[in-house]
Symmetry: C2
Subunit: 376 residues, 2 copies
């Protein structure tokens, strides 16, 4: 929590639950990433937090934007971002949305399948396209499965055919998994990707860009290596595999731009035990899985919590949200401890919740309003 | 899908994805439940679908309402439902919301812990309260875990203390788990609950009500026994355990009131394979886990799908939503087959999606609008 957030909460006493975003931290994160990986062009993955103040601040700093839908492109352009700084990075697009984006001036599109490439050839003729490839992504806390990307051989074929159909085969993207903790993953991925560059060059197709995706972490409960270490690992891998034939480099950070810029303040609604001999207290907050903390699904993301009673003796707890849904439990298997002195009505602060919270929150599940956010 | 829904879709051609609810089916479900379990008072669990047209129709039919929050109570009263037909059934309530509800005239409240009982004693003096007890709930497709309820011994103590503090210890509730498939669960639960009635009667406290919760199923992909069988099992268990000392009976159906009354129409956005040798096609719809199909979490609820190409040869598929989130996969482990002739742009209908869809949908994750609903 920054001083600015602390001051805001003290002065405004907003109703809980709410998220407070410190825009100066977003700016700091952007500038640091620019410094640590100067050759990379930053496309902010706006799905992480599309608050207009965040888009506007990053836009003014010169950021480009990775978007997932027509809705996101509209939000971005509403903040004065030019279409040439927008990538339509979702590999799953309706053809009418492709045509619309192309008409707006968007010229950079992702794909990972034949059907999507054909849509692009028809509805975004001449656009720059990049193919997402499947890379092995062990080590990520929010793993990516196989939903996106295709096998490298298929990607090579599709890029060749894209050229034949009048598209500009611009590059290749991959994603090592969100909140990736194993730095070697970028090296393994870039090894595969550089092979594709060489193989395609032999058939006369010169790819110009490699898109490293996201995956840079935010600091949750567990220690992560500093961003410097990540950027050095990426830098080393780029040099090792591309040498003096370095392509244009794109990164799509989301979580690492806004995660630690925000904090959710919540209130303890209830503390109880299920029986006289229950070892764990159940602590129910006024925010849960359906109010913005969706990334606690399978207890994947383990947020840091602070309370006004910190410092005293603690005991184990199960942490849950306020809805009547039994799936609305944040941490039951993961060991969490909270002060024994914690009381109903106390504020609990959920740290580093600037990414993947507001937009995940349900419209009005159980009659609870979506998570409110304040950008300061 | 009913004829009315079919006609609506044909005539209006609404943009996908959307949910269409046939209110006549809701009415039919309500009346049938009344007929099959005439001694039970129905408190519709409005969290399943709080569309104002649904609340209004059920309100006119005489239904009472089980609510989870101040927001739900407001929605309910906005449809002309009197406070004496409302139960504040969430065991996790802010004290200021209890006080507000009491002020509105709500007189029936749930609790399952000492802290909550104390809030009720302070802020809803004299109200009827019922204690939720933990029962074993194997057999449910959407299991309830231990989030709600307390051990029967604790419930007995708390009900006794509630009386001492000026509350009216009105009854006991339990929930066998949503989409419960094992009919014997009600018998096992009622055996425990009736013991509590007898034990408390010996100390001079006469409970008046047993609240059977929900758990009655909707018909998804797997066959379920007819509602008649469920109601007979409940009836038999009530008679076996309460005999001629039958208490007032409350049920809180949600899913079984609205589940089969609604249908989501979606569009195929993309069909692809990950490599030339991929055995399964990936079929991406324009609705997914964050657009209303949250109950596919862990592939729990398995919806029935229909397509305009049904009847021809089929092949195995992975089914996914349109967002850039890799968790947005509906069915990957569960075997789903779709026609080989299925094409991008085809409509896919997701049957029996009237419950737990609209309100679960995310505010605007990835820039996609929440699920639209039409009540007809």
């Amino acid at each position: 929590m920054t001083d600015r957030i602390r001051r805001f909460l003290r002065d405004k006493q907003p109703e809980t639950p709410c998220l407070v975003i410190d825009l100066d931290v977003v700016e700091f994160n952007y500038k640091r990433m620019r410094e640590l990986l100067p050759q990379a062009k930053i496309f902010y993955a706006m799905k992480a937090n599309p608050a207009q103040e965040v888009l506007s601040r990053l836009g003014k700093l010169g950021s480009s934007f990775d978007t997932a839908s027509r809705g996101e492109i509209e939000q971005c352009m509403a903040q004065g971002v030019d279409a040439n700084r927008i990538s339509f990075g979702n590999t799953i697009k309706k053809e009418r949305d492709i045509a619309w984006a192309f008409q707006q001036g968007v010229r950079l599109f992702a794909f990972d399948s034949e059907a999507e490439m054909l849509k692009l050839a028809r509805s975004a003729p001449g656009a720059r396209v990049f193919c997402r490839v499947l890379v092995d992504c062990g080590g990520a806390e929010w793993p990516l499965s196989r939903k996106f990307g295709c096998a490298p051989e298929m990607a090579r074929d599709l890029l060749r055919r894209a050229a034949e159909m009048g598209l500009e085969p611009y590059g290749v993207s991959f994603h090592v998994g969100s909140q990736q903790t194993d730095l070697e993953q970028w090296d393994r991925a870039l090894a595969q990707v550089s092979q594709m560059f060489y193989a395609l060059a032999e058939t006369g197709i010169d790819l110009k860009m490699v898109n490293l995706g996201g995956g840079f972490p935010a600091r949750y409960r567990a220690d992560v290596q500093p961003l410097e270490a990540y950027c050095e690992a990426v830098q080393r891998a780029l040099v090792r595999h591309f040498g003096n034939r370095m392509p244009e480099v794109i990164i799509e950070p989301g979580r690492s731009m806004v995660g630690d810029a925000g904090m959710i303040q919540s209130e303890v609604v209830l503390i109880s035990r299920k029986s006289a001999s229950d070892r764990k207290r159940w602590v129910y907050l006024d925010v849960g899985k359906f109010g913005g903390l969706a990334e606690t699904m399978d207890e994947s993301i383990k947020y840091r919590l602070t309370t006004p009673r910190d410092g005293g003796r603690t005991g184990p707890v199960v942490l849950a949200g306020p809805t009547c849904d039994s799936a609305d439990i944040l941490y039951e298997k993961t060991e969490y401890r909270l002060p024994l002195a914690l009381k109903v009505g106390d504020k609990v602060e959920i740290q580093a919740t600037g990414a993947y919270t507001t937009t995940y929150s349900a419209v009005s599940f159980n009659g609870f309003a979506p998570l409110k956010a304040y950008c300061i």
